[in-house]
Protein backbone atom coordinates (compact mmCIF):
# COMPACT_ATOMS: atom_id res chain seq x y z
CA UNK A 1 0.00 0.00 0.00
CA UNK A 2 1.35 3.42 -0.92
CA UNK A 3 0.00 6.88 -0.50
CA UNK A 4 -1.00 8.76 -3.63
CA UNK A 5 -1.94 12.38 -4.14
CA UNK A 6 -4.71 12.65 -6.73
CA UNK A 7 -5.69 16.03 -8.13
CA UNK A 8 -9.07 16.40 -9.80
CA UNK A 9 -10.63 19.22 -11.77
CA UNK A 10 -14.38 19.73 -11.62
CA UNK A 11 -15.89 22.25 -14.03
CA UNK A 12 -19.41 23.29 -15.03
CA UNK A 13 -20.50 21.30 -18.05
CA UNK A 14 -19.91 23.03 -21.35
CA UNK A 15 -23.14 24.43 -22.75
CA UNK A 16 -24.52 25.25 -19.32
CA UNK A 17 -24.49 28.88 -18.28
CA UNK A 18 -21.52 29.54 -15.98
CA UNK A 19 -22.17 33.09 -14.76
CA UNK A 20 -19.00 33.11 -12.68
CA UNK A 21 -16.90 32.13 -15.68
CA UNK A 22 -18.63 34.76 -17.77
CA UNK A 23 -17.94 37.45 -15.16
CA UNK A 24 -14.27 36.47 -15.09
CA UNK A 25 -14.11 36.49 -18.91
CA UNK A 26 -15.65 39.98 -18.97
CA UNK A 27 -13.10 41.19 -16.41
CA UNK A 28 -10.24 39.73 -18.44
CA UNK A 29 -11.55 41.48 -21.55
CA UNK A 30 -11.65 44.76 -19.70
CA UNK A 31 -7.99 44.24 -18.76
CA UNK A 32 -7.18 43.89 -22.44
CA UNK A 33 -6.91 40.10 -22.65
CA UNK A 34 -8.91 40.14 -25.84
CA UNK A 35 -7.97 36.64 -26.87
CA UNK A 36 -10.09 35.15 -24.08
CA UNK A 37 -12.94 33.18 -25.62
CA UNK A 38 -14.36 31.28 -22.67
CA UNK A 39 -13.73 30.83 -18.96
CA UNK A 40 -15.25 28.18 -16.77
CA UNK A 41 -14.78 28.38 -13.03
CA UNK A 42 -14.76 25.11 -11.17
CA UNK A 43 -13.09 23.39 -8.25
CA UNK A 44 -9.73 21.74 -7.81
CA UNK A 45 -9.49 19.05 -5.18
CA UNK A 46 -6.35 17.33 -3.97
CA UNK A 47 -6.96 14.00 -2.27
CA UNK A 48 -4.38 11.89 -0.46
CA UNK A 49 -5.40 8.27 -0.43
CA UNK A 50 -3.81 4.92 0.27
CA UNK A 51 -3.94 2.47 -2.61
CA UNK A 52 -1.87 -0.46 -3.89
CA UNK A 53 -0.94 1.32 -7.11
CA UNK A 54 -1.60 4.64 -8.88
CA UNK A 55 -4.23 3.20 -11.23
CA UNK A 56 -6.39 2.09 -8.35
CA UNK A 57 -5.95 5.45 -6.59
CA UNK A 58 -7.25 7.12 -9.74
CA UNK A 59 -10.10 4.65 -10.04
CA UNK A 60 -11.20 5.31 -6.46
CA UNK A 61 -11.15 9.09 -6.98
CA UNK A 62 -13.22 8.69 -10.17
CA UNK A 63 -15.74 6.79 -8.08
CA UNK A 64 -15.69 9.61 -5.48
CA UNK A 65 -16.38 12.13 -8.23
CA UNK A 66 -19.31 10.13 -9.58
CA UNK A 67 -20.83 9.70 -6.11
CA UNK A 68 -20.15 13.02 -4.41
CA UNK A 69 -17.46 15.38 -5.60
CA UNK A 70 -19.08 16.28 -8.94
CA UNK A 71 -22.77 16.68 -9.69
CA UNK A 72 -23.42 14.42 -12.68
CA UNK A 73 -26.28 16.70 -13.79
CA UNK A 74 -24.20 19.83 -14.22
CA UNK A 75 -20.48 19.14 -13.90
CA UNK A 76 -17.67 17.30 -15.65
CA UNK A 77 -14.52 16.13 -13.95
CA UNK A 78 -11.08 15.04 -15.00
CA UNK A 79 -8.18 13.57 -13.11
CA UNK A 80 -5.45 16.20 -13.40
CA UNK A 81 -2.58 14.37 -11.76
CA UNK A 82 -1.67 11.28 -9.75
CA UNK A 83 1.61 11.19 -7.85
CA UNK A 84 3.22 9.53 -4.89
CA UNK A 85 2.31 11.55 -1.79
Amino acid sequence: MSRYRVAVHIVPRRGLLDPQGKAVADALHSLGFNGVRDVRVGRHLVIDADAPEPQSAERVVRDMCAKLLANPVTEDFEIANVEQA
Binding site: L17, P19, Q20, L68, N71, V73, T74
Partner: protein, 230 residues
Protein backbone atom coordinates in the same frame (compact mmCIF):
# COMPACT_ATOMS: atom_id res chain seq x y z
CA UNK B 1 -51.65 15.73 10.76
CA UNK B 2 -48.09 15.37 12.01
CA UNK B 3 -45.40 17.42 10.30
CA UNK B 4 -41.71 16.76 10.97
CA UNK B 5 -39.26 19.59 10.42
CA UNK B 6 -35.64 18.52 10.14
CA UNK B 7 -32.91 20.77 11.46
CA UNK B 8 -29.53 20.37 9.81
CA UNK B 9 -26.48 22.28 11.01
CA UNK B 10 -27.02 25.57 9.18
CA UNK B 11 -30.79 25.35 8.73
CA UNK B 12 -32.38 28.73 9.35
CA UNK B 13 -35.99 28.39 8.28
CA UNK B 14 -36.84 25.42 10.48
CA UNK B 15 -38.51 27.58 13.14
CA UNK B 16 -40.52 29.45 10.52
CA UNK B 17 -41.78 26.16 9.11
CA UNK B 18 -42.57 24.86 12.59
CA UNK B 19 -44.54 28.00 13.48
CA UNK B 20 -46.50 27.94 10.22
CA UNK B 21 -47.51 24.36 10.91
CA UNK B 22 -48.34 24.72 14.57
CA UNK B 23 -49.43 28.34 15.12
CA UNK B 24 -51.03 29.04 11.78
CA UNK B 25 -52.37 25.66 10.74
CA UNK B 26 -52.92 24.26 14.24
CA UNK B 27 -51.28 20.99 13.31
CA UNK B 28 -48.85 18.88 15.27
CA UNK B 29 -45.19 19.72 14.65
CA UNK B 30 -42.24 17.51 15.48
CA UNK B 31 -38.72 18.88 15.55
CA UNK B 32 -36.30 16.38 14.13
CA UNK B 33 -32.51 16.55 14.30
CA UNK B 34 -30.38 15.54 11.36
CA UNK B 35 -28.67 12.86 13.45
CA UNK B 36 -31.96 11.18 14.37
CA UNK B 37 -32.64 7.75 12.95
CA UNK B 38 -36.38 7.87 13.39
CA UNK B 39 -39.03 10.14 11.87
CA UNK B 40 -41.21 9.60 14.97
CA UNK B 41 -44.30 8.77 13.02
CA UNK B 42 -44.66 12.02 11.09
CA UNK B 43 -46.95 12.12 8.07
CA UNK B 44 -45.09 14.88 6.23
CA UNK B 45 -41.37 15.63 6.24
CA UNK B 46 -40.19 19.20 5.71
CA UNK B 47 -36.62 19.85 4.62
CA UNK B 48 -36.31 23.51 5.55
CA UNK B 49 -34.37 26.41 4.12
CA UNK B 50 -30.95 27.50 5.23
CA UNK B 51 -27.34 26.76 4.47
CA UNK B 52 -26.80 23.24 5.71
CA UNK B 53 -23.11 22.49 6.20
CA UNK B 54 -22.28 25.97 4.94
CA UNK B 55 -23.17 24.94 1.39
CA UNK B 56 -19.76 23.23 1.31
CA UNK B 57 -18.95 21.51 -1.98
CA UNK B 58 -22.42 22.29 -3.39
CA UNK B 59 -25.61 23.45 -1.70
CA UNK B 60 -27.27 20.38 -0.17
CA UNK B 61 -24.46 18.00 -1.16
CA UNK B 62 -23.34 17.12 2.36
CA UNK B 63 -26.74 17.22 4.09
CA UNK B 64 -27.87 14.30 2.03
CA UNK B 65 -25.47 12.13 4.05
CA UNK B 66 -27.03 13.11 7.38
CA UNK B 67 -28.27 9.98 9.19
CA UNK B 68 -31.92 11.04 9.00
CA UNK B 69 -31.84 11.28 5.21
CA UNK B 70 -31.90 7.51 5.01
CA UNK B 71 -35.29 7.64 6.76
CA UNK B 72 -36.44 10.53 4.58
CA UNK B 73 -35.65 8.60 1.40
CA UNK B 74 -37.49 5.54 2.78
CA UNK B 75 -40.45 7.79 3.69
CA UNK B 76 -40.51 9.15 0.12
CA UNK B 77 -40.14 5.65 -1.31
CA UNK B 78 -43.29 4.67 0.58
CA UNK B 79 -45.10 7.46 -1.29
CA UNK B 80 -45.37 9.70 1.77
CA UNK B 81 -45.04 13.46 1.31
CA UNK B 82 -41.79 15.40 1.53
CA UNK B 83 -41.53 19.16 1.07
CA UNK B 84 -38.10 20.60 0.30
CA UNK B 85 -38.01 24.36 0.64
CA UNK B 86 -35.05 26.37 -0.69
CA UNK B 87 -32.05 24.55 0.79
CA UNK B 88 -34.44 21.62 1.26
CA UNK B 89 -35.06 21.64 -2.52
CA UNK B 90 -31.31 21.56 -3.06
CA UNK B 91 -30.97 18.67 -0.62
CA UNK B 92 -33.82 16.76 -2.30
CA UNK B 93 -32.12 17.13 -5.70
CA UNK B 94 -28.75 16.05 -4.32
CA UNK B 95 -30.40 13.06 -2.64
CA UNK B 96 -31.95 12.02 -5.95
CA UNK B 97 -35.52 12.56 -4.71
CA UNK B 98 -36.04 15.14 -7.46
CA UNK B 99 -34.43 15.49 -10.89
CA UNK B 100 -32.10 18.34 -11.82
CA UNK B 101 -29.90 20.65 -9.79
CA UNK B 102 -29.87 24.17 -8.39
CA UNK B 103 -26.91 26.27 -9.48
CA UNK B 104 -25.55 29.70 -8.63
CA UNK B 105 -28.02 32.45 -9.56
CA UNK B 106 -27.33 33.74 -13.06
CA UNK B 107 -26.86 37.25 -11.62
CA UNK B 108 -24.24 35.88 -9.18
CA UNK B 109 -26.14 37.85 -6.55
CA UNK B 110 -28.02 36.62 -3.55
CA UNK B 111 -31.69 37.51 -4.09
CA UNK B 112 -33.98 38.32 -1.20
CA UNK B 113 -37.34 39.63 -2.34
CA UNK B 114 -41.03 38.93 -2.61
CA UNK B 115 -41.41 37.18 -5.96
CA UNK B 116 -44.42 36.14 -8.02
CA UNK B 117 -45.05 32.55 -8.95
CA UNK B 118 -47.91 31.07 -10.92
CA UNK B 119 -49.58 27.83 -9.89
CA UNK B 120 -49.06 25.62 -12.94
CA UNK B 121 -51.07 22.66 -11.72
CA UNK B 122 -53.57 22.10 -8.95
CA UNK B 123 -53.45 18.36 -9.49
CA UNK B 124 -50.88 17.74 -6.81
CA UNK B 125 -51.23 17.06 -3.13
CA UNK B 126 -49.31 20.29 -2.51
CA UNK B 127 -51.35 22.64 -4.69
CA UNK B 128 -54.95 21.42 -4.71
CA UNK B 129 -56.14 24.34 -2.57
CA UNK B 130 -54.96 26.94 -5.08
CA UNK B 131 -56.85 28.07 -8.16
CA UNK B 132 -55.38 27.07 -11.52
CA UNK B 133 -53.08 29.84 -12.73
CA UNK B 134 -53.27 31.65 -9.40
CA UNK B 135 -50.44 34.13 -8.86
CA UNK B 136 -48.78 33.90 -5.48
CA UNK B 137 -46.53 36.35 -3.69
CA UNK B 138 -43.85 34.34 -1.95
CA UNK B 139 -40.49 35.42 -0.55
CA UNK B 140 -37.26 34.06 -1.94
CA UNK B 141 -33.85 34.30 -0.32
CA UNK B 142 -31.11 32.31 -2.01
CA UNK B 143 -27.83 32.43 -3.88
CA UNK B 144 -28.15 29.07 -5.59
CA UNK B 145 -31.62 28.80 -7.05
CA UNK B 146 -31.12 28.42 -10.79
CA UNK B 147 -33.02 25.27 -11.63
CA UNK B 148 -31.11 23.30 -14.24
CA UNK B 149 -31.77 20.01 -15.98
CA UNK B 150 -31.24 18.60 -19.45
CA UNK B 151 -33.88 19.21 -22.12
CA UNK B 152 -35.25 15.68 -21.97
CA UNK B 153 -35.82 16.01 -18.23
CA UNK B 154 -37.44 19.44 -18.63
CA UNK B 155 -39.75 18.15 -21.37
CA UNK B 156 -40.72 15.21 -19.21
CA UNK B 157 -41.47 17.47 -16.24
CA UNK B 158 -43.72 19.63 -18.43
CA UNK B 159 -45.51 16.71 -20.06
CA UNK B 160 -46.19 14.98 -16.76
CA UNK B 161 -47.47 18.14 -15.09
CA UNK B 162 -44.61 18.06 -12.60
CA UNK B 163 -43.87 21.79 -12.85
CA UNK B 164 -45.93 23.16 -9.96
CA UNK B 165 -44.71 26.76 -9.69
CA UNK B 166 -43.17 29.10 -12.25
CA UNK B 167 -41.77 32.61 -11.82
CA UNK B 168 -43.93 35.21 -13.57
CA UNK B 169 -44.15 38.97 -13.93
CA UNK B 170 -46.89 41.28 -12.61
CA UNK B 171 -49.13 40.31 -15.52
CA UNK B 172 -48.74 36.66 -14.64
CA UNK B 173 -46.62 35.90 -17.70
CA UNK B 174 -43.33 34.07 -17.81
CA UNK B 175 -40.63 36.59 -18.49
CA UNK B 176 -36.84 36.27 -18.26
CA UNK B 177 -36.81 39.56 -16.34
CA UNK B 178 -39.14 38.09 -13.72
CA UNK B 179 -37.03 34.96 -13.33
CA UNK B 180 -34.98 35.96 -10.28
CA UNK B 181 -32.22 33.40 -10.65
CA UNK B 182 -32.15 32.34 -14.31
CA UNK B 183 -33.98 29.04 -13.74
CA UNK B 184 -34.59 27.06 -16.90
CA UNK B 185 -38.13 27.62 -18.19
CA UNK B 186 -38.77 29.81 -15.14
CA UNK B 187 -39.18 26.78 -12.91
CA UNK B 188 -39.64 27.63 -9.23
CA UNK B 189 -41.01 24.33 -7.95
CA UNK B 190 -41.47 20.74 -9.11
CA UNK B 191 -42.80 17.43 -7.89
CA UNK B 192 -41.32 14.01 -8.55
CA UNK B 193 -43.04 11.66 -10.98
CA UNK B 194 -44.98 9.94 -8.22
CA UNK B 195 -46.16 13.33 -6.95
CA UNK B 196 -45.19 12.91 -3.30
CA UNK B 197 -42.00 14.99 -3.18
CA UNK B 198 -42.20 18.74 -3.76
CA UNK B 199 -39.19 21.01 -4.08
CA UNK B 200 -39.46 24.78 -4.39
CA UNK B 201 -37.13 27.74 -3.96
CA UNK B 202 -39.75 30.23 -2.63
CA UNK B 203 -40.65 30.08 1.05
CA UNK B 204 -44.34 29.28 1.65
CA UNK B 205 -43.67 29.03 5.40
CA UNK B 206 -42.51 32.66 5.43
CA UNK B 207 -45.73 33.71 3.72
CA UNK B 208 -48.11 32.29 6.28
CA UNK B 209 -49.61 35.45 7.77
CA UNK B 210 -50.72 38.70 6.14
CA UNK B 211 -48.82 40.72 8.72
CA UNK B 212 -45.52 39.53 7.22
CA UNK B 213 -46.56 40.59 3.73
CA UNK B 214 -48.30 37.55 2.31
CA UNK B 215 -50.32 34.56 3.44
CA UNK B 216 -50.18 32.89 0.02
CA UNK B 217 -48.07 30.04 1.34
CA UNK B 218 -50.74 28.69 3.68
CA UNK B 219 -52.75 26.91 0.98
CA UNK B 220 -49.73 24.77 0.16
CA UNK B 221 -49.91 23.21 3.62
CA UNK B 222 -53.71 23.18 3.54
CA UNK B 223 -53.50 21.18 0.33
CA UNK B 224 -51.73 18.43 2.27
CA UNK B 225 -54.47 18.53 4.91
CA UNK B 226 -57.26 18.46 2.32
CA UNK B 227 -55.67 15.37 0.88
CA UNK B 228 -56.40 13.34 3.99
CA UNK B 229 -59.49 15.28 5.08
CA UNK B 230 -58.05 16.53 8.36
Amino acid sequence: MKFGVITFPGSNSDEDAFLAITDVLGQEGVKLWHKDHDLRGVDVVILPGGFSYGDYLRAGAIARFSPIMREVVAHADRGAPVVGICNGFQIACEAGLLPGALLRNASLQFVSELCRVRVETTETRFSNQYAPGQILRLPIAHGDGRYTADDATLDRLEQNGQVVFRYVNAKGETDPLADPNGSMRGIAGIVNERGNVLGLMPHPERAAEAIVGSADGVALFESLLAQVGV
